[in-house]
Symmetry: C2
Subunit: 149 residues, 2 copies
């Protein structure tokens, strides 16, 4: 293990990809990580070494890639952030899933805990509000259409 300070955006992306691949019952494979992140296989190897040295994955050359407990925790919290943002974009702003996903990938590295927690609350809130006879989301969509967006 090497250091504990914040992961770079890039390493967060690798960790997230590993998490998402593992979730599908599959073992995360280097090839797939490269594919998902759009980088060369050699770049994945480098990242795996770093994540390993930070004790976030168990990894040795040509071996399986497995999240450690610590890595799993951290990946979960990254994915959670991602989902909060994506869900806000889709369910409140009404952005297309594909664009929302893409935007969430980038924004998840930019938004701090305060904003994230407010976004979550806002998404909850607008759902609750809908139940009380005032459908914010629907009205916002209407508003957008009326403005030609």
């Amino acid at each position: 293990m090497v250091q504990n300070r914040q992961l770079s955006s890039s390493l967060e992306d690798y960790l997230e990809a590993i998490f998402n691949l593992s979730k599908k019952g599959k073992v995360a494979r280097s090839r797939d990580i490269a594919e998902i992140l759009g980088v060369a296989r050699a770049s994945v190897t480098g990242a795996l070494k770093l994540l390993n040295s930070k004790d976030l994955i168990d990894y040795q050359p040509y071996g399986y890639i497995k999240l450690t407990d610590k890595g799993f925790q951290q990946a979960q919290s990254i994915v959670r952030r991602h989902n909060i943002i994506e869900s806000f974009f889709i369910n409140v702003l009404g952005v297309d899933k594909q664009i929302a996903e893409q935007a969430a990938c980038k924004a998840e590295h930019a938004l701090g805990p305060v904003v994230i927690s407010r976004l979550l609350k806002f998404t909850e809130f607008s759902t609750n509000y809908s139940e009380k006879g005032t459908d914010i989301v629907a009205d916002f969509q209407k508003y957008c259409r009326s403005k030609g967006v």
Copy 2:
């Protein structure tokens, strides 16, 4: 002039800082740019050369720093994005100005035009909505307080 592809986040920040300094009637000075962005003076020099080569500022060593028309346009659109995001954070999410500013600085490089335009619309919308007897913003604040956020 060298190339026209998208500015890096970093260069956008420099351009934005120059714009903001110029706006205050002041000539943008290297020292101040360094201060605002929290980088060494030498880093500013490097960035100025790049911005100059991209025809976004008029600059020569030891000379004044002035935005070109093209640079001004681009800076304006960067600042506009920034303001849309910051305004949404403050006026809809109810985040503190200081945190909102900071978050907007980062998010402005992450969010694409679709999301930005929706954020703008949403901020407009929630204001309009307030005028019609349903104050979303106030209700959201209440909701947050009730959830202890």
